[in-house]
Symmetry: C2
Subunit: 312 residues, 2 copies
């Protein structure tokens, strides 16, 4: 049997850039962290990333490729970053070619939600499925699609923006002036605010330190207002996922990201919503799953994607 291939996965976030050597779904090195905001431009941050890559390459000389998962839009074919969320100075950076030149290894640059989706499909909750919708719930709501057994990117590599889909054509305005954008209902901040409103409306004192986590714990402990909040979140998410199922007829939905720790407090009403709203034969063939990977999804997905592309 051939030795397992190794690649470096780089999870490029607004707070930190995290790098590790990955073999299959396992991190075989420590995770190296670089504070993103310490660097004012792409050149200086790239130099620092190259230093960390060189350290990892010295320790793991069999590394074959490098994958970058970045928080925003990319031109996947060209390996160029466009608009990165919360990171200055990364418009039109030809990251793939720069990194290939500096490291001598094949490099891929992909959107971070697509990397998460690829990780779940290749090694995680969506393994073996053909058509998959991945959603990440956190500050924003992101997504990725596996269609016909491959990442689906769309005409400008911008597909999968589940958080920008509308759940109310007369609703609140999203970041693109898109009325009813899902993430303006169930992003972290919106969940917290919604909970506050529910407590106020009920005339019940707001819990201290209100957050999606604390409201999830309260709901698990039987707090009816917290429970209602998560049912509302499930209705919003369920409505959008129902739409994606009618459009794409997937065989699996995978949900990850910060908010998904709410666990069955979210998943149970979500399953009920989809069961009541979809044709029975469609729901019967639809797996609804928790993501396998948490914080490491970006590192694992980007490294797996790098290996899959450099092999093809």
């Amino acid at each position: 049997m051939s030795k397992k291939q190794q690649a470096i996965g780089v999870d490029f976030g607004g707070t930190s850039v995290k790098l590790a050597v990955v073999e299959g779904a396992e991190l075989v090195s420590d995770v190296h962290r670089i504070p993103t905001q310490d660097f004012k431009d792409s050149e200086s941050l790239i130099e620092r990333i190259v230093v960390e890559i060189d350290v990892l390459k010295s320790a793991f000389p069999s590394v074959e490729a490098i994958g970058f998962g970045v928080p925003g839009s990319v031109d996947f074919a060209a390996g160029v970053t466009y608009h990165l969320t919360n990171v200055q100075g990364w418009a039109e950076v030809p990251l793939r070619d720069i990194m290939t030149e500096k490291t001598g290894l094949p490099v891929v640059v992909e959107n971070d939600a697509n990397c998460m989706c690829f990780a779940e499909w290749k090694y995680g909750a969506a393994e073996g499925f053909e058509h998959v919708i991945c959603v990440t719930l956190g500050t924003g709501v992101g997504g990725g699609l596996i269609l016909n057994g491959d990442l689906y990117r769309g005409s400008q590599y911008a597909a999968g923006e589940i958080g920008q889909m509308s759940i109310d054509y007369q609703g609140v305005t999203g970041p693109y002036n898109n009325t009813g954008a899902l993430e303006r209902y169930i992003g972290n901040r919106q969940i917290t605010e919604w909970a506050g409103r529910l407590y106020d409306e009920a005339g019940v004192a707001r819990p201290d330190d209100i957050s999606p986590e604390s409201i999830a714990k309260l709901a698990q402990g039987g707090d009816p207002i917290a429970g209602q909040l998560w049912k509302n979140v499930a209705s919003c998410l369920g409505s959008c996922l129902m739409s994606t199922v009618f459009l794409l007829n997937p065989d699996a939905i995978v949900i990850g990201g910060g908010v998904s720790y709410a666990g069955n407090i979210l998943f149970e009403p979500l399953r009920e919503y989809l069961e009541k709203s979809l044709p029975a034969e469609c729901f019967a063939h639809l797996a609804i799953k928790h993501a396998r990977f948490g914080n490491t999804a970006g590192i694992i997905g980007s490294s797996a994607l790098a290996l899959s592309i450099s092999k093809s």
Copy 2:
């Protein structure tokens, strides 16, 4: 240059089954019509369809394949019909194998909205595009998808149900108990009723013979209430299409079916809606087009699909 291939396209509707011989995008025979409701079961209707196919085959002996576009769900791989709208007795009919045996020709059986989409992509408004969303507006709202240059069918061949997507998570109930289903806002009947409500609310007498056609004519003539109605329709359709664009990042949207004769009365506010709601670079690369084919889309698409499959 090789002679153009010919196939029989069968547009199986709730009112009539229409058949013709097609060469490329041209009907080269008359359209034969069979009144669907004259036949109580699938066996007798199939016998009659075979009679008409034999007539067409005698006149056009070079016909190479037969395509069926049917109004409902099919198992495409097996060539079996499931739930056909407004047609009794067609649950689990192995139409492809029956027809292959009776005619000696390769046969494909596909959903009618997918056939319309294939016709527009192969020969019509979506020719040359890689990722296409097709919508048909009529009694109901149907759809089909071309993704990565091929019909996308999903895990049970049920993809493309744009009319069942939600535009309001707290809205009206659709046929699957799906809250906010688009077709419950902009189906023919709903458009007519909505127009009636707008005239009532304005204290203006309803026009005689109110219908989507008559309201489109009134709007084109400058009637402000009729104009408002089509703006409302454009908002509902626009909201749903915006969601599909964020999810799939297509390069073209094609709109056909009965309601689309409303023309610019619908298309202008729809374009405005999408322009204001999508990232600029995304809208700039999105073609929004009228369908090329009207009533013949099903015949042309099913015949083209039959030839494309029998060749592969």
